[in-house]
């Protein structure tokens, strides 16, 4: 069964189509790097997958459930641009709250375990406000992994993280993959993404123009994918000028 099956998804903002019939299929257990330039529609697609936004047209199923349904929300973990934790709650309070919302059986226990995982046990009762940037980011990572999601949606996960948080995230992602979870992450930094990615999809102007396994060419030359499958129009333009 597919982890993500998005069929011809359109999303209009007013009259402007941010997604123009994007089709994406991701196997279970895969780690998909969703590439594309700024404005290509990566965030829009991820927000729709996370149930934060409804597609104008098109069908999306996640793990066999329709996107945005209660069941799919429960099995999906989402880490967006913002860290999504409350500054005025302690680390534990934050995670217990989200544990309750996510329907985790024993929120307190899950919270303690998650804090252990990201190395914040020592400061578990400190307010998130008092944390350093990196600690806050690790707390956010703990929040996204709290309910052991089967599908992880990460929007530009590496851009704002510090080194330690990146290390924590990569360990957790590798662990999740071993567990059989699926990961979809958007990024425009190909090098970092390629370390984990098993699959690659390229989003151009609201359409998936390439989707397939990661290959040696991509690893060797980050620009290769864009040049081969990227926007033909943009190529023409540069050729003209």
């Amino acid at each position: 069964m597919l982890a993500v099956a998005a069929e011809r998804v359109w999303k209009y903002f007013g009259d402007y189509p941010a997604l123009r019939g994007a089709t994406l299929h991701t196997k279970r257990g895969a780690c998909l790097a969703l590439l594309g330039r700024n404005g290509a529609g990566k965030t829009t697609l991820l927000r729709i997958l996370a149930g934060l936004s409804r597609p104008t047209k098109g069908e999306i199923t996640l793990l066999g459930q329709s996107a945005g349904s209660h069941e799919s929300r429960r099995r999906v973990g989402y880490l967006g641009h913002g860290i999504g934790v409350y500054d005025d709650l302690s680390a534990t309070e934050n995670l217990v709250l989200f544990g309750q919302l996510l329907g985790v059986n024993e929120p307190a226990k899950a919270a303690a375990a998650a804090l252990e995982l990201v190395g914040l046990t020592r400061v578990k009762d400190g307010l998130a406000r008092e944390f350093s940037r990196g600690m806050r980011q690790r707390l956010a990572v703990a929040r996204a992994f709290l309910h052991e999601p089967e599908l992880l949606l990460l929007d530009e996960p590496f851009t704002s993280l510090d080194d330690r948080a990146i290390a924590v995230l990569q360990t957790l992602l590798a662990g999740a993959l071993r567990r059989g979870a699926t990961i979809v992450m958007s990024t425009h930094q190909i090098r970092e993404a390629m370390e984990l990615a098993t699959d690659v999809a390229l989003l151009e102007r609201g359409q998936i123009v390439y989707s397939g396994p990661q290959t040696a060419e991509m690893l060797a030359d980050p620009g290769w994918l864009y040049r081969t499958y990227g926007d033909k129009g943009a190529g023409d333009r540069s050729a003209r000028s």
Binding site: Y12, F13, G14, D15, Y16, G39, T56, R205
Partner: protein, 226 residues
């Protein structure tokens, strides 16, 4: 097609209005109790009725937008709301002038004028907030939500100002009973149609502008994406 419809409605409305004005001012006799000023009901009451009609259209369009997510409905909602608010203003201005003549004050907290004023305030909020929302889908969704909330308030306002302990002036059924002498009925009904036609024409014009505006917005995004 749309342009033709606008012109037809507009011209028809204006012609009918001129005919009706002739009847009202030249053919009809003065009413016994109020004298000449009673003629104001031929614009005052049709404005009120049509304001409610257009605001109701806006409500239906708002619900349709939420159900269908088709921007036509959003455009219709805002167009009809603007025309409705304009008609409310006509209603309030003429009513106020009539009140000054009959009661000697510009504003007497008369029941129906009060509820129309509150209705105006409700929809002014709608029109003020709308342009502050940048993203078109969000703007349309929020506007629809506000429109539904506003319309739901209208019956409550009517009930609230009729509470037994609320001191609004009850000026007696000057125009309250609705029994209009048969002589005055035709120009009254035509008056309703006149404003309906003119309002519909203006709504169509506004509708077209809203469509163009969306086109502009999508062009802006297009440029941004390049």
């Amino acid at each position: 097609m749309r342009e033709k419809a606008t012109y037809v409605l507009g011209i028809l409305g204006t012609l009918l209005m001129l005919l009706n004005l002739k009847t009202i001012f030249l053919d009809l006799p003065n009413e016994a109790a109020q004298g000449a000023i009673f003629r104001i009901i031929f614009i005052h009451v049709p404005a009120a009725i049509n304001a409610d009609v257009f605001l109701f259209v806006a409500l239906v369009a708002s619900i349709m937008f939420l159900a269908k997510k088709n921007f036509f409905w959003d455009s219709l909602a805002v167009s009809a709301t603007e025309v409705g608010v304009m008609l409310l203003c006509v209603n309030l201005a003429t009513g106020s002038i009539w009140g000054r003549n009959i009661w000697g004050v510009w504003w007497a907290w008369d029941l129906r004028m009060t509820s129309q004023l509150m209705c105006l305030l409700l929809y002014l909020g709608y029109l003020l907030v709308r342009p502050a929302i940048g993203e078109p889908t969000q703007r349309a969704t929020m506007s629809a939500f506000i429109s539904i909330f506003a319309f739901a308030d209208i019956p409550l306002v009517a009930m609230a100002i009729r509470l037994p302990n609320v001191r609004t002036q009850h000026p007696g059924p000057v125009l309250e009973t609705g029994t209009l002498d048969a002589l005055y009925r035709p120009p009254f009904i035509i008056g309703i149609f006149v404003l309906l036609l003119i309002g519909a024409a203006l709504t169509l014009v506004r509708l077209h502008q809203e469509t163009t505006r969306r086109e502009i917005d999508s062009l802006r995004r297009e440029l941004h994406a390049i």
